[in-house]
């Protein structure tokens, strides 16, 4: 599946968006050291649609946090879009999250007091964009996920599927390198799940790189490649017919 062997000191090829090299993360819990990731090396090309699977405790949440730049590894390297981010500080990571990563969460994580438009605007606020431009970009992103007529609804006035669409619009509004989805259908019924998977497929067709963490095989079946983690290591990594 992978490409050429990566050695410390190398720079990834230009079409590699995500490259992890012997990525490890340990937590110290009291006197015990928990090794959540023990050295994961994965390369993901631009415009790939990858599902990350694994049972609980396999390290997929830790992997997703690291890939999402919410956490820093104990050892190993992580390159995102040609930039080594594994040794960046808090504020630089915040900037990377803002520019390169679009998150979609299981619980949507929309701000309850803000309307859809304002929720989608948020990443642009932190990017320092001016209000008029922000509004324009946010409404375009909402239109892209089919919610042009719901811009001024608050999350509690929207259905679960619509909420997840708002979250997707928010994830895409900054044109990120990767769309990083964590159990995106975990809180949705199967019809709505299929609808959201349709949105993902469309985005992928339009050239978006998608990384999706899930434990449901039928959701993972939507992806063109499945990486399975077990005990903090890559267990399988195979392409499949999407």
């Amino acid at each position: 599946m992978t490409h050429q062997e990566f050695v410390t000191g190398d720079t990834p090829l230009p079409d590699i968006v995500i490259l992890t090299h012997k990525l490890a993360r340990e937590y110290i819990m009291g006197t015990e050291t928990v090794r959540a990731l023990r050295g994961v090396s994965v390369q993901i090309r631009r415009n790939e649609y990858v599902a990350v699977m694994g049972p609980s405790g396999s390290g997929k949440s830790t992997f997703m946090n690291l890939v999402g730049c919410l956490d820093t590894p104990s050892s190993g390297e992580y390159w995102l879009n040609g930039q080594k981010v594994s040794d960046l500080g808090d504020d630089d990571l915040a900037r990377i999250r803002n520019k390169e990563i679009g998150f979609v969460f299981q619980t949507f994580n929309l701000l309850p007091r803000a309307d859809a438009l304002h929720n989608v605007e948020l990443p642009l606020v932190y990017a320092g964009m001016r209000a008029a431009e922000r509004r324009k970009r946010a409404s375009e992103a909402l239109a892209r996920v089919g919610l042009a007529d719901r811009m001024h609804h608050r999350p509690n006035e929207l259905s679960g599927g619509q909420r997840q669409r708002v979250a997707i619009a928010r994830a895409l509004v900054n044109n990120p390198s990767i769309l990083l989805a964590d159990e995106p259908t975990g809180n949705l019924d199967s019809a709505t799940s299929n609808e959201i998977m349709g949105v993902f497929k469309d985005l992928h067709r339009q050239g978006q790189t998608v990384v999706m963490v899930t434990h449901e095989p039928d959701i993972a079946a939507n992806a063109e490649r499945v990486v399975t983690l077990r005990d903090g290591l890559v267990h399988t990594d195979q392409k499949q017919a999407a």
Binding site: G68, L70, D91, N109, Y126
Partner: protein
């Protein structure tokens, strides 16, 4: 995220939680209200005392020769007793001072006063200020005659029983009828009314128009003071330096008349409007001493309340903070957001306090005898204190929010 975005966000949050926000700013609100109201009273009273009270009690560029000060603040008993043993000012003293002063343009007037009853045609006015004075008294005190005339120097000198009434007294006894030439009874003694003084209004709730002035040597003298004694000699000069010169000369003349040796203190008093102001500043000092303490305590309490509310808000909104961080909010963005919220809260509280303080001041003006006037600097100080409280007490919660780990924050229910 620019600061104005943070403030806009804070206003949204405050609007969404009106009741909670109202309770959280109550301390700052009370502190600033008190600040504005107290400063308004002190300020208004100060102005009142300097502009009106001192001038109307003593007069502009005027001093009074008395056997003891007329107004005193916190005078010990022993001093008071020694004042009472002093010899009074006699007609002869007043004459000697008037003749002895060489300051050009000075006006002098004898002055004695007491409370008494004035009657006309069966109507009785009680607690009237009975004043015995010289002809220049009206000029010295700047009293305009609206009806009739003041009494003349000749009438004053001869002690003719003529009287000039204050506006309220005239209104009470004559109820709009012409009083000029009518005979009123002052303490039972018949006097002919020659004039009425323009309405003076009130001072600290007391009417300034319930008085009658008659020549100091007229029959009423017997009722007001012992024979040949006056309460005071009023001296008015044209300027302050001339007044000071007149005071020096008066002191010299009186010391000579009383045969005081150089090591002996004056056994008489020369009182200017400054003395009245001294008395006022004594009261003023009390307010200035306690006022800031009360303001400070309420602001600190208000700040602590805001800090607790903000700490609660950080705990409640941990997930929101996590979401914001995942979308690219830096530490300083979160810090700024929560700091702006605290500052906005306390500034809104301060603004409400300023508004209510001004309303309170207007109410005090309208419904109490106190003179209150809003001091612009106190409004500015209110705004500044409001935001300072926000900064001081918002920093800890904002720091706590900004340091949250995004993963843990996102995981929170």
């Amino acid at each position: 995220m620019p600061f104005y975005e943070a403030v806009r966000l804070a206003l949204q949050t405050i609007r969404a939680q009106k009741l909670k926000s109202a309770f959280s700013v109550i301390g700052v609100f009370i502190g600033v209200t008190f600040l504005i109201a107290a400063v308004s009273i002190v300020n208004g009273m100060n102005r009142y005392m300097t502009d009106k009270f001192a001038a109307s009690i003593v007069g502009v560029n005027t001093f009074q020769l008395r056997h003891r000060p007329n107004v005193g603040f916190n005078v010990p008993d022993s001093v008071w007793r020694s004042w009472r043993r002093r010899p009074r000012i006699t007609f002869a003293d007043a004459e000697a001072v008037t003749r002895g002063m060489s300051v050009p343009g000075v006006l002098t007037s004898w002055f004695s006063e007491d409370q008494g009853t004035v009657e006309y045609g069966g109507k009785i006015a009680k607690s009237i200020d009975l004043q015995g004075a010289g002809a220049d008294y009206f000029t010295i005190k700047n009293l305009n005659i609206v009806q009739g005339r003041p009494f003349s120097p000749q009438e004053a000198k001869a002690g003719i029983p003529v009287a000039v009434m204050g506006w309220e007294l005239a209104d009470k006894l004559f109820a709009g009828n012409d009083p000029i030439g009518k005979t009123i009874k002052i303490q039972g003694l018949p006097y002919t009314v020659v004039g009425v003084v323009e309405k003076q209004g009130t001072m600290l709730g007391m009417s300034l128009d319930k008085f009658v002035v008659a020549p100091a040597t007229s029959p009423i003298q017997r009722d007001v003071n012992p024979p040949h004694v006056v309460d005071a000699l009023m001296v008015k000069a044209n300027t302050i330096p001339e007044m000071n010169l007149a005071m020096d000369q008066t002191e010299g003349i009186m010391r000579a008349r009383r045969h005081l040796r150089p090591n002996q203190d004056d056994n008489f008093a020369l009182e200017t409007s400054a003395a009245v102001l001294d008395w006022w500043s004594g009261i003023n000092r009390l307010m200035v001493a306690f006022g800031p303490g009360i303001v400070l305590i309420s602001l600190v309490v208000g700040g602590i309340v805001i800090m607790n509310i903000m700490l609660m808000a950080v705990a409640e909104r941990t997930r929101e903070i996590g979401v914001r961080k995942s979308l690219g909010a830096k530490r300083k963005d979160i810090l700024r957001q929560f700091l702006a919220e605290a500052i906005t809260l306390s500034t809104v509280g301060a603004a409400a306090g300023i508004a209510f303080g001004i309303i309170l001041t207007l109410l005090i003006q309208a419904f109490t005898p106190l003179a209150a006037q809003v001091a612009p600097w106190s409004v500015g100080l209110g705004v500044v204190l409001g935001s300072v409280v926000g900064v001081v007490f918002g920093t800890l919660p904002a720091m706590r929010a900004s340091k949250l780990d995004p993963i843990a924050a996102l995981r929170q229910e």
